[in-house]
Every structure is written in C-alpha cells, then in structure tokens.
Symmetry: C2
Subunit: 101 residues, 2 copies
C-alpha cells in the first residue's frame, strides 16, 4: 500500500523561481528514486521553511528515501528536519476529492 | 495562488475502515468548505497520529479553515496540533509528477 511521506524543515532559500532553477537537477534525481510515485514541493518564504509531500509505493521505499534525504539535507547544513510517514485513508480522501491517491 | 495546508496531531483512533465510518459526515462537511479544493487524509496507527494535506484556493480560505479545524480538534480533546501553510513550487512539482497542483 502506498505511503505518504511528509518532510519539512527550516530553509533560508532560495524560494520561488530561483528555487526552481537551483533544484532542477535534484528534482530529476528524486523522480528516479526507487518506489517514488510523486512529490509536491512546499515552500514558505515568510516563515523560512520548505519541505515536501511525497507518495511512495511501499513503507520500505519511503523509509529508505527518508533516510537518504535527511542525510542530504543535513549535508546542506539544515537542522530541525521533521519527517513523518502516514497511511492514506482512501475512503475519506475520495469524499474530499484527493488527487493521486 | 493555491495554498497547501499541512495538519498533523496525536490521535488515539479509530483508524482505517473504522475511521472512514466515523468521519464520513465530517469529510462531506469539509468538502463543502469555502475555497476548499482537496484533502488527503493521513493516519498512522503505530505512532497514534493523524492529519491531512489540503489544498485551498487562497491564503485567506486556508487560514480561516485552519482556525476552524484547530478549534474543532481542540473540542475533541486533541492537543499538540501542528498546522503549517506553504506555497507550492510548481516548476519542481511538475518534474516530480505531483498530482492536483
């Protein structure tokens, strides 16, 4: 069953179009991760935060990616990383028109 | 521009199919909120957590819902509620096949 992985962390930028340019290569790399289905990239310039909402095909692939990505972010000097995994309640999500589940 | 709202909180259950049954009415109510676009319902029985990933059409509609839902959860006796709003980086999200953005 697919697993939702929720990441957020303090982030000094860049945000917006500059973020898109800076992380284009990383995005293509993430798109090729084992078990990866999709990621929504999140950012909040006012609160200096960023993160992502991911779907993976199994708990194992989500856990492997969470460890890899946490280590990569730490390598960028980022601290305060929060990573949580969840199952999706499909019945309720259908009622609320959830995409991609 | 659409705003992603990320909610999570300690939750004692019910989970899974029982959660679907118990919260069916709430889900239909949420689907009719002003500015609401979609919600993915998240749950983690092992860690006793639940939450949701929402998309709203404006920051104002997301903020109004976040306040209403936080008060509702508090009314259920839930504490430790975490609600964060983010913009979506659309360029990066397209590369990673994000749905519904």
């Amino acid at each position: 069953m697919a697993v939702l992985l929720q990441f957020d962390f303090p982030f000094p930028g860049p945000f917006g179009e500059e973020m898109t340019q800076a992380l284009d290569g990383l995005a293509h790399s993430i798109a090729a991760e084992p078990g990866f289905l999709w990621k929504i990239w999140t950012e909040n310039a006012a609160e200096q935060m960023a993160g992502g909402i991911y779907l993976f095909d199994t708990a194992e692939s989500a856990a492997a990616y969470a460890q890899k990505h946490s280590e990569r972010l730490a390598g960028f000097g980022i601290t305060g990383i929060r990573a949580k995994t969840f199952a999706i309640n499909e019945g309720l999500s259908k009622i609320t028109r959830a995409p991609g589940c």
